[in-house]
Amino acid sequence: MTLTFAFDAILALALVAVAAWTTAARDMFAAVAGSVAFGLLMALVWVRLAAPDVALTEAAIGSGVTGGLLIAVGARLRRNGASPGAEPPGAILRCTAAVVCGLVTVGLGAIVLLSPEPAPTLAPLAARHLPQTGLGNPVTAVLMAYRAIDTLLEVVVLLLALVGVWSLAPDRYWGGRPGMQQHEDPNGVLAFFARLLPPIGIIVAIHLFWVGSVAPGGEFQSATVVGAMWLLAMIAGLVDLPPIDRPGVRLGLVVGPVVFIVIGLAGTALAGAFLAYPPGHAKLLILVIEIPVTLSIAATLGLLVVGPPQRMPPG
């Protein structure tokens, strides 16, 4: 027990240290690097907390995609030569902020120490209804059955963020292609990996997706892997970014939530409530929802990273 405790303590300290370093970092690159490291350490913590689904999601989205986004943003800021516009606030403000944050930390720490262990839990209820869903992974059951409305709304929220990002395009580029034209060497190292990795990545993604119904995995994680493969191909210049007005892009983005809603409405007719599943067909319907949702999430994540249109629309 003491060995695992020591490991946990070291991991926790490392996490706090990386966070402190990221907060104190002076330049953008350090902050981004700290961010990525933070995400990976967080994934380890999730494993230690017996939450492998969350670990996968944190590594994929919290560290991977977020890190990619921040790196791209940092690079563009450097390219534009943006000068920092404001000085840090004065000492009084910093001290007040430090005191407030210290209080928050102490208060939360007290709650953590004084909270009951074991805590009130919904695990027994989740376990009891799990056979009804036909799934083996209780987290997937919560996401796709018990609290499916949250997942539906969240997928729409993700799409809405993309609408917001697109709205930030200059008028003259509306409907055009996101991102700068990539001029990568087609025989270079990046292009090599961009040809090698995507097929492997897609197989990994399919495995994550399939196994998510009974073991850690699921649509968000596999969607991230698919999205990352697409991003890799785009960055390497193998595939050009599509203009956002292309019908295929639009269809790919909405097919997930649309199928989700359609099956939800079918549930109203067949099973008595929106997003209810007729007995015996739950697992099949969940799968039918998850496939297009994975595609839509992958497309949305990829397009969120590349940003708003920055090139003239074709023709």
């Binding site: 946990d8 926790a12 402190a20 907390l49 939450a51 920092p84 939360l108």
Partner: protein, 113 residues
Amino acid sequence: MSAATVFGLCAAALVGLGLFGVLVDPHPLRKIVAFNLLGGGVFLIFGITARRGAAAGFASDPVPQALVITGIVVAFAATALAAALVLRLVDETGRVTLRSAGSGGGPSNDAHS
């Protein structure tokens, strides 16, 4: 002291650090990075609640885990939107600051409504 408690205290520290970064750092993009630290701390509190709720053969309560997955996705969406705003702002003004060029009763003659 269980693993959950250790990471819970860690989470409290992350929330404090992240909040400090959000409040104090003037650069909007570093505010966003600090915000992700803050979010990570909050998600970690979900995590220890889940771990402490182990029951019925599960090592961890699945409901908070699912909520964290949802939260991670929403947090990324927020980061992406904020980043896009910062980049557009830099494209337009060449500066990265939250102080607006003219506020309150500044002389601003045209109104685009």
